[in-house]
């Protein structure tokens, strides 16, 4: 693997890719989390996804062990694994590559083609979770505040979603910094998502992809 795309990009964007042995060493430091299906991982300058790809691989290994026997569970927990992976990347080609790399892993794992609801739902989730934007100004490429979807699997094929603004989440340290438990709970005027959705099925998430692409065109 080439760690550098071009000298100019190294100079302008600090773009140096992490070698895979180091990605593995780092993920081993958080081994338990990386092997848990629903632990949320954020990579704030994700490039083409060197870390996120390995995180997903580990999560899918966990899906296989736990739910390998049931097709329904396996599909839903695969989507959940994906829902727990987040990234932000400044350069458009990198983020597109990142989404494609991750989608490919899911498609390979479950032998999906593009017509499959799961493929389309996954693609939609990736469009939400992998953000083309600037992690420091916390704005998307079209200057909107970055927001993240918090997903959860409520069982029986349904997912819940709540959206949070990234800039507001970074203030969360005001909550629970010091003092007692009582004090912790006193400070968070920010416990509120910007949007809460009714529970969504995989098919509904797949439909959201078409809706989103229609909107965009």
């Amino acid at each position: 693997m080439n760690l550098v795309k071009s000298k100019q990009r190294v100079a302008d964007h600090g773009e140096v890719f992490t070698p895979s042995w180091m990605v593995e060493a780092i993920l081993d430091l958080v081994k338990d989390e990386s092997e848990r299906i629903d632990s949320r991982f954020l990579e704030p300058a994700c490039g083409s996804g060197n870390f996120l790809i390995q995180v997903l691989r580990r999560k899918l290994a966990a899906v296989e062990i736990k739910f390998g026997k049931s097709e329904f569970e396996k599909r839903h927990y695969t989507l959940l694994a994906l829902m727990c992976i987040y990234g932000i990347e400044l350069l458009e080609d990198n983020i597109a590559e990142c989404r494609a790399n991750i989608l490919e892993i899911v498609a390979d794992y479950l032998h999906l083609d593009e017509s499959d609801d799961l493929y389309r739902a996954a693609s939609y989730v990736l469009s939400q979770n992998l953000v083309h934007g600037d992690a420091l100004t916390m704005r998307t490429s079209d200057r909107q505040p970055i927001s993240f979807a918090e997903w959860g699997y409520v069982g029986k094929g349904k997912f819940q979603r709540r959206d949070f603004r990234f800039d507001i989440l970074t203030h969360s340290s005001a909550f629970g910094e010091e003092g007692t438990l009582f004090a912790h709970l006193g400070k968070h005027e920010i416990f509120t998502p910007t949007k809460t959705y009714p529970p969504l099925t995989m098919a509904e998430l797949a439909a959201a992809l078409s809706a989103a692409s229609k909107e965009a065109s």
Partner: protein, 527 residues
Amino acid sequence: MSGKASFSLRGRNPDVLTCIANLSNDEVFTPPEFASRMLDTLAEAWAADHDGASIWANSSVRFLDPCTKSGVFLREITTRLTKGLTAEIPNLEDRVNHILTKQVFGIGITYLTTLLARRSVYCSKHAQGKHSIAKGFDSDDGNIWFERTEHTWASGRCSYCGANQGSYDRGVDLETHAYAFIHTNGIQARIAKIFGGNMQFDVIVGNPPYQLGSDGGTRDVPIYQRFVEQAKMLQPRYLTMVIPSRWMASGLGLGEFRHTMLNDRRMRELVDYPAANDVFPGVEIKAGVSYFLWDAAYGGNCRVTTIRGGEVVGPVLRKLGEYDVFVRDARAVSILHKVLDRGESSINTILARDKEFGWTSNFDGFHETERPGDVPLYFIRKMKRGVGYIGRKAVTKSAHLIDKWKVLVPEAFNGGDAVPHQILGKPLIAPSPSVCTQSFLFFYVGSRNAAKSLQSYYATRFFRFLVSLRKITQHATHSTYAWVPLQTWNRTWTDEELYAKYGITRKEQAYIESQVRAMNLEGDGDE
């Protein structure tokens, strides 16, 4: 509404909570009387800390009972708040609703007691139930939460609570008695999750960009620290990133970041690659790179590993904040202790500051040939050392240092990543009187012999080794020399003599020699 309105007024007589028997020996119910006394104590303490204010008249304090059983604490708290907030929220229904949705929280310990607690607090075992006195919940749990939590078995015991696997690993139908509150390493995260709080990232990982190209300047502006700081603000359970190692001892604008990182006891692992080439072949990152693990639930010394060209030192448990900069190689620490424990003054008490005479490196207001009243001016241009002349009157800064013997030392020395390293450029004795540009720092002494003695000290490995511990980039600034002790200038210093003086063992000497090359004072000193 009338039935509900009477909630706070209803005399609980007899109080059902005084009547129930204990269900199991870890669900010892707190008698209401006792809970009441505890809450009085709390209210007194609050008043003492808040100019006599009543905690029960405060509509923003939040109460959590992290292992609620009968719900007695929450119920008593609710009763008191309902009374105390009368003035602030006159409408009873609004008031009770505010209290129950915004102020009173519990985590149940078993399914059954959770229902009991909800019954005590909401007057219904379902927060949205017909008889519930709380309106405005969107789930039947309200703010009293319970979810089956499993023990984490490790050799027969739960690694969180120590429960015996034999007695508590008993299948899905029975209660586990694994209290959610302690069966986690990240309690804040847990609380936030339980009560639908902020979105929580369990892990933040990555390799953030390292610097912003500075517009035309000579130095790049680091930005990786901003990614680290921001990630901490998100309060993840774990944070792990690859970043340049430069922050450990220097770096433009990284002082505060260094201080915070070194003193953050949540730093759990640090793996340091002094030669970036070991990680990113073909990419030069001065001072190397490292990755770290920051663990929100950790507090203590950090496991440090140093890896260079396949040689692994550590992990060694270290206190990162022992000094103002981080001594990267654990093998250096014992040597440093021996030197600093003697409490001698630092050689930087006779070392000039950056731009001591005020002239930058590209200063060219000097004469090629000497004119009357001139003093020699030492400079480095296009990597070559040179001497010009300048009128004594033109020296407006630090004029008292003109008439000193000086040992000039270049402000910058690179020399690549490989060890053993020369660390510093060759010194040069400048007789009194003399001045120099920013390209040099200088030590000042009173005589030629003292200058020669100091120069011999500078040339020792011992001297440059102590410098190397604080010199992480090519720049050797005033503070880089802080750990080099002052000597007397009456002899030619050698490593042997210094090793003997400071009790440096053979093994330590070998380490110094593996890091620092001998310096030959002969020959030219081009940079």
